[in-house]
Symmetry: C2
Subunit: 154 residues, 2 copies
DNA sequence: GATGATAATGAAAATCTTTTTCAATTATAG
DNA sequence: CTATAATTGAAAAAGATTTTCATTATCATC
């Protein structure tokens, strides 16, 4: 086997931080680890609570600052949901959109949407030049459907 | 001419309020009038500032409460934008989406999107049952494009 | 058009979230 | 190691929204 193993995503993010002149600190590591190991968008306070288990003297301010930095680097994104708009998730890679479970919050990425016809029609009818689009799907994930129909525990 | 004229939208909203047991007060009239006569989504504070010109003793709390009520009745909706998520606009009528000018905020409604193929594909790939979707387009309106390319005032 | 019951209002206080300040700590280059 | 600069966390400040509560406006009934 080759001696070079693929660096973990966490390491890749830390490398990107370093490359941009940021130092790889304990606080940043913990926040990054949590974001990368959670399949749903998290509020700063949730991240803080989880992170403190590994890093008890962490301050909430640092969570805010780290999210701001990661967002500026394009590694995380803010997600908008009916229940709140300051929740953070791993950023899209390329042109993707989210499908979010309204029961548990699980977020999955999908791609391959082609909205060009739609956007052209909207542009023609409105006189706008359309630059961008937000698309988000909501549904129920397989796990939540299974839990819903499962027999209640005795 | 017929004696019965079509009631204004403002009157229709006030009627809906009355029907739901709410009183048509001066404060509510002013907020409604502003929402109906503005072509972009507004923050509570903006509505408050505009409304005070007509109703100087209005309180900001009342704007919040009125928006809450109008939202509960399905007359206004919260709009999400990169710049803020607590801005309010007339609600959709039927299945519509928004196209928003990123320069001036102007919002126009459009309909006729067919995302069923897209949603089915996302559902199949993810194992989710898809219930709902958010779609929003961003662009530049004709007025803002004209203003941009117009010669500067002497 | 009074009157009493009830809804609605606005000022102030309370809450919650996010940002700023600043002294102490930590990472890095030399 | 040491000097330098970045980072951190606590506390304070700022902002946004909600709650509380005494006062005022609306409405149904007379
Ligand atoms: Mn897309
Ligand atoms: Mn649609
Ligand atoms: Zn789920
Ligand atoms: Zn515009």
């Amino acid at each position: 086997m080759s001696a070079s193993t693929t660096p973990t995503l966490e390491q890749q993010w830390l490398d990107q931080l370093a490359q941009a002149g940021y130092r790889p600190t304990a606080a940043r590591r913990v926040v990054i680890e949590i974001v990368l190991n959670t399949c749903r968008a998290l509020e700063p306070l949730e991240i803080f609570t989880l992170a403190r288990r590994q890093h008890p003297k962490l301050g909430l301010v640092t969570v805010y600052r780290t999210l701001e930095t990661l967002e500026a680097l394009g590694l995380v994104q803010r997600v908008h949901q009916p229940g709140g708009c300051n929740i953070y998730l791993r950023a899209f890679e390329g042109h993707q959109h989210l499908l979010i479970c309204t029961a548990c919050g699980r977020a999955v990425f999908f791609e391959g949407d082609d909205l060009s016809a739609l956007m052209e029609r909207a542009a023609r009818q409105s006189g706008f030049v359309v630059h961008d689009h937000w698309l988000q799907l909501f549904g129920t994930c397989a796990e939540c459907r299974a839990a819903q129909s499962a027999p209640l525990p005795a």
